[in-house]
Amino acid sequence: MGMDSKNSSNKKVGVVGVGSFGTAIANMLAEKSKVVVYARKPEVVEEINEKHETQGRKLHESIVATFDPEQICEQCEVLFFVVPSSGFQEVVRNFAPFLHPYHLIIHGTKGLCLDLPKGKDLSSITKIKRSQVLTMSEVIQKETVVVRVGCLAGPNLSKELIKGQPAATVVASKYNEVILEGQRLLRSDKFQVYGNSDIIGVELSGVLKNIIAIASGALAGLGLGENARGLLISRGMVEMVHLSNALGGGVRSVIGLAGIGDLVATCNSVDSRNFTVGYRLAKGETLTQIQAEMEEVAEGINTVRIIKAFLETSDLRAPITENLYRVLFEDLEIEDALQFLMKYPFNVDVDFV
């Protein structure tokens, strides 16, 4: 009980998911609050409660783990959901019976989810409408009674956060109280927290930048230099702005920390899974080979597929995404894709402000 005096609040905060980012967030929260983490597997829960670590990652000693959604929902009013987008909907559904309208949920998942008729998936459908694409906050609102929802986004590479290096993040929500709560819980000397009310724009920035990160990895894999990367980042940002707009996000969020901030960090980082996928593709490996060897999913691959299907229903052109799709799924050679992009008639530098 000696820990109590250090805590600024006695209320417990929940973190759902103990992947690399989840662990990093849980540790940061534990500096100020009591933290309960949720993991699906009992053996992981046991490992955390007994050894204060999981998969080689250290957890703060005060953190308690549980595999019971009901328990964590009862103990915590504020929950951070940090699970991969592929399992997000399922986790949220499991939590739904125990969530109440007084809960606040802030998620840190960068991905999209599809809401298709039963029995259909991306392999049987080629066109999707905006209403069929859900951001993670939309998943939460669709599946649960929680309305006060927020998201975390920004250049937050887990490895650096774990080392305690300085960084910043954006908490986005339509509700001021969610932003304030997120800031209160997370802000520290090493971690700055900005607020943004355009939650869709912030979520989309985090999602769309993964596409550009794959492309950036590919350029690096081809042995191209900084000029090419500079070109990609700025053209990539323009593409993100247009896509985000078409999906209901604001321009401002893309040029903020969650957009350009995260884009620069990810496009230069060998630690990013998305970057790695691009890099290895350029080195001649196939997507199947790469995916088989990766522990955690590279969100960007799924994003490319979804955005490609969405583009079929809109008048928008998104050359980087379209060509990346052909490289990933239609065996276009990466050099040919690059050639295509170099010839593409982009003639206006900035056409969105």
Binding site: P101, V145, V147, R148
Partner: protein, 565 residues
């Protein structure tokens, strides 16, 4: 073949009129107005941060706008002392401004005194003037008079005027969740939110409420309607309070919201037309005016704050759609819609409802010819748009009982957060629009108008809406067979949507396609001088007025049906 609709009159849920919230409110009118005025002042002071300079600015803006209104846009209903009142306000303001020695606190006090005069004037003006004997009289006039007219028209022959074969309920069909509505009205406070296409709606809803045995609802009616004596009488009788759309100043809007919120907290069932004004385009409202809606949310939160946590303090939102084959005002509404290209203009009074004589003439026409109306009552929701069960409990999508109070809780207690409640109003608005689409009942006339317009549109793909509407009517012919095939296509899609509970259809839509089309053609906009759609003597489907056709077509807007063409 005909669907069941309510044919009997329900017993009143509160037999003694003394128990009616609206009667209680009328009894305590004076105290209530005082309360509204005081609370509005409080709100305005909070909004201006108790800062005399900001308050002064708001007062001056209000004064300026009001003087301008008195001069430029006077109405018959305006009281005679308007300009003298505002002149006095002006004098008082000048007086405070010239007293340079006053301390900040004293100045605030002086301005507050002026504010008090304004809010009490506004509260008095807004307050309803419900009189029970007027209500009773109006109700019997509506029911008796209308059914006489109806029977005279339908039952031919001698003494037909005394026949009771048809009642008003054959003409106006009430369907949907009526039992739930009656039930919940005895338990909590109901806020009814209907779609709004015609000035007739208020009377129609008032009548519906009385058939269902509910005590009268109070509602905000445009002050312009009080210009017309016959309407003024009806409105007062139905418990209407007055909303003056000319006044857009902070003081007025806050007083109006306070009035609505306090009345809901008082337990008065209320009626808002959430679209604000009548739908100009004929589309179901998609953007709602959230101002009054937010007062329902505020009232709910205030009840929780006061510790009223059981169902007696609960506010229920009940969406209602009203469906017509024919909207009397359609020609001028659509003209307005087409000429206002997104710009807000002064509300201009239109011809149809401008005199009592014209209204009476319309009513005679309406009841003596067959054109049915349906009123569909939707499922009740809490203020966040969750459905509620028979005991008034809110349910999540999996039918688990949840507490509405939890939406207002932060750190374990109910808290006031205006930014949060603003977002909640947006959410509720979206939910209401969704429900409108679900409970909307398709009539044959909607189907034929929609199909014809979309066919014409797809034949002229290069034209935008305005060019399309300017197409010479005599050049448009639709061959019957093609028209019928297209109607069938739209109809099939509507049935699919109905299966998904996204829309509803009227009983007459279960006939054969030829019959549906014939029914639709004979009913769509039937009393207009120029008919939106008819079949000419060569058997072609033709229109006499493209913009009217567009208006009636819009009723099926918002379902993605246009993608079929």
């Amino acid at each position: 073949m005909e669907e069941k609709y309510i044919k009997h009159r329900y017993d009143p849920i509160l037999p003694s009129k003394d128990e009616w919230p609206v009667v209680k409110l009328a009894r305590e009118r004076k105290e209530f107005i005082k309360k509204v005025s005081d609370k509005s002042q409080e709100r305005i002071l909070n909004l201006t941060n108790h800062n005399p300079d900001i308050l002064k600015e708001e007062l001056e803006t209000t004064l300026y706008r009001e003087k301008l209104r008195v001069k430029q846009n006077p109405w018959v209903v305006d009281p005679d002392d308007e300009s003298s009142f505002w002149n006095k306000v002006k004098e008082s303001l000048l007086h405070v401004n010239s007293e340079s020695k006053l301390s900040k606190a004293d100045r605030l006090k002086e301005y507050q005194e002026v504010l008090q005069r304004i809010t009490s004037r506004y509260s008095e003006e807004i307050a309803s003037n419900f009189k029970h004997h007027h209500y009773k009289f109006t109700r019997s006039v509506v029911s008796f008079g209308f059914s006489r007219l109806l029977n005279a028209a339908r039952v031919k022959g001698f003494r037909s005027i005394f026949s009771n074969q048809y009642s008003l309920q054959d003409k106006i069909q009430i369907t949907g969740e009526t039992d739930q509505l009656r039930d919940l009205a005895t338990k909590g406070t109901v806020v009814m939110v209907p779609t709004h296409f015609s000035n007739l709606d208020s009377i129609l809803i008032g009548w519906t409420i009385s058939v269902l045995g509910l005590p009268p609802f109070i509602y905000g009616a445009g002050l312009n309607l009080f210009n017309i004596s016959i309407f003024a009488y009806f409105m007062d009788a139905l418990g209407a309070y007055k909303v003056d759309r000319r006044k857009k100043n902070l003081m007025y809007l806050e007083t109006l919201k306070t009035y609505s919120k306090e009345a809901i907290q008082f337990g008065c069932h209320s009626l808002f037309f959430p679209g604000g004004t009548r739908s100009r385009s004929g589309m179901i409202e998609s953007k709602l005016k959230l101002g009054l809606l937010s007062t329902a949310i505020e009232a709910q939160r205030a009840n929780y704050q006061k510790g009223i946590k059981d169902v007696s303090g609960k506010v229920f939102i009940v969406p209602v759609t009203i469906n017509y084959h024919f909207v009397l005002e359609a020609p001028s509404l659509i003209r307005d819609y087409l000429s206002i290209t997104g710009q807000e203009r002064y509300y201009k009074e239109n011809d149809e409802f401008s005199t009592s004589y014209k209204i009476s003439k319309f009513l005679v026409k309406f009841f003596t010819k067959g054109s049915d109306i349906s009123v569909s009552v939707g499922k009740a929701m809490d203020v966040l748009g969750n459905y509620v069960d028979e005991n008034g409990n809110s349910l999540d999508k999996k039918d688990r009982i949840i507490e509405t109070e939890d939406y207002f809780i932060s750190n374990g207690a109910v808290s006031v957060d205006s930014q949060r409640e603003e977002e909640y109003s947006n959410l509720l608005g979206k939910r209401i629009v969704e429900e409108f689409h679900k409970i909307n009942r398709v009539f044959s006339s909607h189907l034929v108008a929609f199909t014809a317009f979309e066919m014409i549109k797809s034949m002229n793909q290069k034209l935008d809406l305005f060019d399309l509407i300017r197409l010479p009517e005599e050049d448009i012919f639709l061959p019957y067979d093609e028209f019928k095939a297209s109607c069938q296509m739209v109809y099939d899609r509507i049935l699919e949507l109905k299966k998904e509970c996204q829309i509803n259809i009227a009983p007459h839509m279960k006939r054969s396609m030829d019959e549906i089309i014939a029914h639709g053609l004979s009913n769509v906009g039937m009393y207009h001088a120029k008919r939106p759609l008819i079949r000419n003597k060569d058997g072609y489907i033709v229109t006499e007025d493209m913009s009217l056709l567009y208006f009636y077509h819009n009723r099926l807007h918002g379902y993605g049906l246009e993608k079929l063409f």
